[in-house]
C-alpha cells in the first residue's frame, strides 16, 4: 500500500516532466526540424527570460501571493539600464556626471527592481492590500514611469559589449540560458536548503500556524516580492541587450506567461505547494509548444488557443491528483 502510494506520489510529481516528454516526441514525429541542436538552443534562449521571471513568481506564489507587475518592472529596469549606459547620470546643478560600466548599470537596474518589489511588499504586508491589487497598481505605475523615463521612445545603440548578455554564447550555450540556469540553481537552493525557503512554504501552507511559530511573516513576504521584481529587472536587462534597445512597450503580458509557467509546473496558486523545478518545466513546455507550433506552421492565433488549453489541462490534472490524496 505504502509503496503504491509513494509510486503514485512520484507520478504526480513528474507529471509535468512526462507531459513535456510526450510533447517533444509528438513534435519530433511531426517535424524533422524539431530534434536539432540548433532548435533546442533556440527554444532555451527563448524561454530564458520567462524562466527568470517565473522563478521569482514561484517564490511569491508559494507564499500565497502573486505579482502582476513583473512585465512593467522589466520594461522600466531595462530602460534604466539602457539610459544609464548611454547617458549616465548627470547632475547639472552640482556639475557632476557619473558614467556607468555595464556591470554598474545592470546592478543599478536590479537594485531598483528590488526596491520596486519591496514597495509592493510593503503595500501587501503593512497596508494589507491584497497582492493582486497591490501589484496591479505597480503594473500601471512602473509602466507609466517607463514612459516618463524614455519619453515614449526606444533607447537604442547600446554597444556590442552590452549586446553579449542577450546574444552571446559561452561554451556553445547562449548567455541568457547560463543566466537563467544560475538563477534557477540559486532559487532551488533557497527553497530547499535555507530557512527562508522553509518559511516561504510554511506561510503558503498555513499562515496562522507559521505566525504562531514565531515566523516574521511580513519580512518573508517583503523578501519574496523584492526577489521577484529583481529577477524581472534581470529579465529586462536580457531583453534590452538582445534587442540592443530598450522598448517602452517591452514586457507587456509577460506576467501572464510567468504565471502560466508556475501553474503548469504544478505550483498551487493557494500557496504552500510546488517547486522551482516544476516552474522551469512549465516554462519549457510553453517554449516548446510555441516553437513546435511555429515549425508546424500553425497560425499564431491558434497558438494562443492551444496555450490556454494547456494551462487549463495542467490545472485540472493537478486538481484531480489532489482529490485522490
Amino acid at each position: 500500500m505504502i509503496a503504491l502510494a509513494s509510486y503514485k506520489k512520484n507520478i504526480s510529481r513528474f507529471q509535468s516532466v512526462i507531459a513535456l516528454f510526450i510533447l517533444c516526441i509528438v513534435l519530433g514525429v511531426l517535424s524533422d526540424k524539431f530534434f536539432t541542436a540548433a532548435n533546442g538552443l533556440n527554444v532555451l534562449r527563448q524561454v530564458a527570460v520567462n524562466v527568470c521571471i517565473a522563478t521569482g513568481m514561484t517564490l511569491i506564489v508559494l507564499t500565497g501571493g502573486i505579482d502582476l507587475s513583473v512585465g512593467s518592472v522589466l520594461a522600466l529596469c531595462g530602460a534604466i539600464t539602457a539610459g544609464l549606459l548611454k547617458n549616465g547620470l548627470s547632475f547639472p546643478s552640482a556639475d557632476l556626471f557619473v558614467g556607468f560600466t555595464i556591470l554598474g548599470a545592470v546592478l543599478a537596474a536590479v537594485i531598483i527592481g528590488a526596491l520596486l518589489g519591496s514597495f509592493s511588499g510593503i503595500v501587501v504586508t503593512s497596508f494589507r492590500v491584497p497582492p493582486f491589487v497591490a501589484t496591479l497598481a505597480m503594473l500601471t505605475i512602473a509602466r507609466g514611469l517607463t514612459m516618463l523615463y524614455t519619453g515614449g521612445h526606444p533607447i537604442s545603440n547600446l554597444g556590442e559589449d552590452f549586446a553579449y548578455i542577450g546574444t552571446g554564447s559561452l561554451l556553445g550555450v547562449p548567455v541568457p540560458v547560463w543566466i537563467a540556469a544560475v538563477v534557477v540553481l540559486i532559487a532551488v537552493f533557497i527553497t530547499r536548503k535555507t530557512k527562508l525557503g522553509r518559511y516561504i512554504y510554511a506561510i503558503g501552507g498555513n499562515e496562522t500556524a507559521a505566525r504562531l511559530s514565531g515566523i516574521r511573516i511580513n519580512k518573508v513576504k517583503l523578501t519574496v516580492y523584492a526577489i521577484g521584481a529583481a529577477l524581472a529587472a534581470l529579465g529586462g536587462v536580457i531583453v534590452t541587450s538582445r534587442l540592443d534597445s530598450a522598448q517602452p512597450n517591452a514586457g507587456i503580458s509577460y506576467e501572464l506567461d510567468a504565471i502560466a509557467a508556475v501553474v503548469i509546473g504544478g505550483t498551487s496558486l493557494n500557496g504552500g505547494k510546488g517547486s522551482v523545478w516544476g516552474t522551469v518545466i512549465g516554462a519549457v513546455i510553453i517554449g516548446v509548444l510555441n516553437n513546435g507550433l511555429v515549425l508546424l506552421n500553425v497560425s499564431p492565433f491558434w497558438q494562443q488557443v492551444v496555450k490556454g488549453a494547456v494551462i487549463l489541462l495542467a490545472v485540472i490534472v493537478d486538481k484531480a491528483g489532489d482529490k485522490k490524496e
Binding site: A202, G205, A209, A210, L212, S213, G272
Partner: protein
C-alpha cells in the same frame, strides 16, 4: 410539541449523543442546560436539520419527522438563531430577512415594495426601530439578533431555538430580547433557550432539560429546582481520572501576569479580558477552566504576544519584565503556545512531520549562517518522534496523514524543541483518543518535574482535576477563582465559572 426519542449520534466513533429523550413544550421557554461538550449544539443541529444522520426518532406535533436539511426543517417551522449570527453583512435588513425566500411579482421580479412593507411590520414586532434599508454592518450585535428573529418570524417558525442569545449583547438589549421572547411565548411558540447564565434561566425559562456527556440527565419545571440542584445535575459524574495532589512547594516564580486587559478588536468598549493577574511557579501545572466565551484562549494568546495592539498589562518571566509584542518575542522569552486548533493553527498539514517539528527553531539549525543543517534537523525530528512516541513509518510523511493524537504530539514536539520555560496548552486533548490523552498527561507531569511551568486550558473538568496543581477559573473575561487542587471540586469550579449577575 417537539419530542426527541432515544436520539444517538456518533462522530467518527466518538459518541456525541447517547439515547437522549426530551420534550419541548409550546408556549413555554425550554432551557437546555449543560457544560461545554454536553451535546447541546449537536442536539440543536439535529432539530434544525444540519445533521441528518442519527439514530432515534423526532416527533413533531405528533408526527414522526426526519429532516433532509436545514431548508426542510425551516419549512416545517423550526428556526435556529446561532451564537455566531448568520447574516450577510453588506446586504440590507430587508434583504437579509427575505434571503432565499424573496417575494416576487408575477414576472419573477423582486417585489421591493411588498418586501419593505412586510419587513417594517416584522421589525416592529421585534421592537427594532431601524429602516429596512439599513445595511446589517451598521447594526449592533443585539440589533442583528433581532433581525434574525424577524427572519424566523417571516418563516412563520413555530419552534425558535436560541443558542446563547445574550452572550454578546448589552443589558438593555437583553431586556428587550426577554420582552420579545415573552411575547412569542404568548403567541404559543416553542422557545428553546440555550445559556450558561443561571440567573437568566431562572428569570426566563419555564422548563429545563439537563444534558451531560451526551445523555439527558433530567428535566422538569424550573420552579421546582434550585440553582445548586441544577449545578449538581450538570456535573454529578464519576471521576474518570485520579485526582492528583499538588507537589509544588515554594518553588521559584516563573511567570507573573499583572493586570492584563484585552479590548475587543471591533467593539472597543467590550473587554474580552479584564484586569487579570496571576503567577505560575516552576514545576506547576495550572488548570484554566471556563465556559465558552470566558476568555481563556484570549488570555493565552495575549501572553503569547498575539494581541499587541489591543492589550495592556505586564508580563514578567523569572522576575524580569518582558516586552512581548509578537510570537517571536514570546518564544525568545521562553514561552510556547500549543494552540486550540491543531489543524488550523498548529500544523502545516501538507508538510512533513520533520519540517513541522523544526519550524520554530530553524535559526538554530543553520550552518554557516545561511544553510539548513539537514543532519541536525533529521536528528531533532528523530529525537522527538522517539521521545513522544509519535506513530509514523517515516519522518517525511505529511502531517495530514497522522491521527489526531499523533498530530497533537507533532505540535508539542515543535514547541518542546524551543526548550520553553513556560508551556501554554490550549485544549491539548480535544478530539484525541483516551490513550493519547493519558500519554499527554504523563508527558506534562514529566515536563514539570524537569522545572517547566504549564498552563493547561481545558473544558473538561475531570481532566482539570486530574492534572492540575492549581485551578484558575475564568468567567466573562475575568478571573473569578484560584483554587488549590486539594480544595477543588467540580461543583465549586463550575459555580465560579457560571455567570451569576
Amino acid at each position: 410539541m417537539l419530542v426527541a426519542k432515544n436520539i444517538s449520534k456518533k462522530f467518527s466513533g466518538v459518541i456525541a449523543l447517547s439515547d437522549v429523550s426530551l420534550e419541548l413544550h409550546p408556549g413555554k421557554v425550554n432551557a437546555i442546560i449543560g457544560e461545554n461538550g454536553a451535546g447541546k449544539s449537536t442536539l440543536m443541529k439535529i432539530f434544525s436539520g444540519v445533521h441528518t444522520q442519527y439514530e432515534g426518532e423526532i416527533l413533531y406535533n405528533g408526527r414522526s419527522v426526519r429532516f433532509s436539511g436545514t431548508r426542510d426543517a425551516e419549512a416545517a417551522g423550526i428556526a435556529i438563531i446561532h451564537q455566531e449570527l448568520n447574516l450577510v453583512p453588506y446586504l440590507s435588513v430587508a434583504e437579509n430577512i427575505f434571503l432565499g425566500r424573496e417575494i416576487t411579482n408575477n414576472l419573477g421580479i423582486l417585489d421591493q415594495k411588498a418586501m419593505r412593507r412586510k419587513a417594517t411590520e416584522l421589525l416592529s414586532r421585534v421592537h427594532l426601530s431601524v429602516s429596512p434599508d439599513t445595511k446589517v454592518t451598521e447594526l449592533k450585535v443585539g440589533q442583528q439578533q433581532l433581525v434574525e428573529i424577524a427572519r424566523a418570524l417571516y418563516a412563520d417558525a413555530s419552534v425558535i431555538i436560541m443558542d446563547e442569545p445574550t452572550s454578546a449583547i448589552s443589558d438593555k438589549e437583553v431586556e428587550n430580547l426577554f420582552l420579545i421572547i415573552r411575547q412569542l411565548k404568548g403567541e404559543g411558540k416553542t422557545i428553546v433557550y440555550i445559556s450558561h447564565k443561571l440567573k437568566e434561566l431562572f428569570a426566563m425559562a419555564d422548563r429545563y432539560v439537563v444534558l451531560r456527556d451526551g445523555m439527558s440527565i433530567g428535566s422538569g419545571d424550573m420552579k421546582d429546582i434550585s440553582q445548586d440542584e441544577l449545578i449538581q445535575k450538570m456535573t454529578g459524574r464519576k471521576l474518570s481520572f485520579e485526582k492528583s495532589g499538588s507537589t509544588v512547594k515554594d518553588k521559584e516564580e516563573l511567570l507573573s501576569v499583572k493586570n492584563i486587559s484585552l479590548k475587543h478588536p471591533l467593539f472597543r468598549i467590550t473587554k474580552l479580558l479584564n484586569n487579570i493577574s496571576f503567577t505560575l511557579h516552576q514545576g506547576e501545572i495550572i488548570g484554566l477552566y471556563g465556559l465558552m466565551g470566558a476568555g481563556r484562549t484570549e488570555l493565552m494568546e495575549t501572553i503569547f504576544g498575539l494581541h499587541p495592539k489591543n492589550s495592556t498589562g505586564e508580563i514578567a518571566v523569572e522576575g524580569k519584565t518582558r516586552k512581548i509584542k509578537s510570537p517571536a518575542q514570546a518564544i525568545e522569552a521562553g514561552i510556547a503556545l500549543v494552540p486550540e486548533d491543531r489543524k488550523l493553527q498548529g500544523l502545516i498539514l501538507n508538510q512533513t512531520i520533520r519540517s513541522n517539528i523544526s519550524m520554530a527553531i530553524l535559526q538554530k539549525l543553520q550552518r554557516w549562517g545561511f544553510m539548513l543543517n539537514a543532519k541536525k534537523e533529521r536528528e531533532l525530528a528523530a529525537e522527538y518522534i522517539g521521545n513522544l512516541a509519535i506513530k509514523t513509518s517515516s519522518a517525511t510523511n505529511a502531517a495530514k496523514n497522522l491521527s489526531g493524537g499523533n498530530q497533537q504530539k507533532i505540535v508539542l514536539a515543535k514547541w518542546l524543541a524551543t526548550h520553553p520555560k513556560i508551556l501554554l496548552l490550549d485544549e491539548p486533548t480535544r478530539g484525541i483518543d483516551i490513550n493519547a490523552k493519558a500519554e499527554i498527561y504523563k508527558l506534562m507531569k514529566s515536563l514539570v518535574a524537569g522545572g517547566m511551568g504549564i498552563i493547561m486550558v481545558s473544558s473538561e473538568l475531570p481532566e482539570i482535576l486530574a492534572v492540575s496543581d492549581r485551578v484558575l477559573v475564568m468567567c466573562e473575561g475575568e478571573l473569578t477563582a484560584s483554587i488549590p487542587i486539594e480544595e477543588a471540586t467540580e461543583t465549586e469550579i463550575l459555580k465560579c465559572a457560571i455567570h451569576k449577575n
